[in-house]
Amino acid sequence: MGHERRCKLDVPRDLYEKVGDRKRIRKLIKIGLLSLKVASLEREIADLTDKIKGSRKHLTELPHETERLYELLGKAIEDKGVLEKMFDKGK
């Protein structure tokens, strides 16, 4: 009973009279919902495509950034050696 009640739709009477056929009403609702679904999926796909584009850019830049840091690190390690030597000399 409950399930049957849930599976009933309130269609505005003027619209119902205009269409005039339950079967056609159901069909139009299905087509309307499917059109919405298509629009929603298209939006999700567009969002995903943008996200992938952004991530790819980040992914391309990261190795260069890491490489730059490795260079700075190498130089800082060299400097540390010099600083320690000078510090020991000055003791």
């Binding site: 049957e4 849930r6 599976c7 009933k8 739709l9 309130d10 269609v11 505005p12 009477r13 619209l15 119902y16 269409v19 339950r22 009403i25 159901r26 069909k27 139009l28 609702i29 299905k30 087509i31 309307g32 919902l33 499917l34 059109s35 919405l36 679904k37 298509v38 929603s40 999926l41 298209e42 999700e44 796909i45 995903l48 495509t49 996200k51 992938i52 991530s55 790819r56 980040h58 992914l59 990261l62 190795p63 950034e65 890491t66 730059r68 840091l69 490795y70 700075l72 690190l73 800082a76 390690i77 400097d79 540390k80 010099v82 600083l83 320690e84 000078m86 510090f87 000399k89 000055g90």
Partner: protein, 133 residues
């Protein structure tokens, strides 16, 4: 007697609960106004149900494919970011060590010109311009 005519007509969906499932997935409540709009969309659609179902299927497949691709990129990014953060932290530690050593050197008197130049350059680098890259 003033009998008011009901403004809605109840329509049973019979075994066709696909409508309810689709509406639920889309987060749409099927009140009479929403139904009016949805029927309006249905009337305005140039496509038949089977064509729309096919389109939905294709789009869902494409979405799945993109999601899987995005996950792969995200995994690669996590690995590279971990390496980047590791190197950055290591560099930060060494830089701070060098800063402390350079501060101690400020009080030292250099032995010769070369040492003075090196000392001044390192003091400039690690104290005066002390910005972490």
């Amino acid at each position: 007697m003033n009998i008011q005519r009901k403004k809605v007509k109840k329509i049973a969906l019979e075994n066709d609960c696909e409508i309810l499932e689709t509406a639920k997935k889309l987060g749409i409540s099927l009140d009479s106004e929403a139904i009016r709009n949805i029927i309006g969309l249905g009337m305005g659609s140039f496509h038949v149900e089977s064509k729309l179902k096919q389109t939905v299927k294709e789009l869902e497949e494409k979405k799945e494919e993109l999601e899987s691709h995005f996950k792969k990129i995200a995994l690669q990014t996590i690995k590279l970011e971990a390496e980047y953060v590791g190197v950055r932290n290591q560099y930060g530690r060494i830089f701070r060590d060098n800063r402390v050593l350079a501060m101690h050197l400020c009080a030292h008197t250099p032995m010769n010109d070369h040492e003075r130049r090196v000392r001044d350059m390192l003091i400039q680098k690690y104290i005066i311009d002390s910005k972490l890259a």
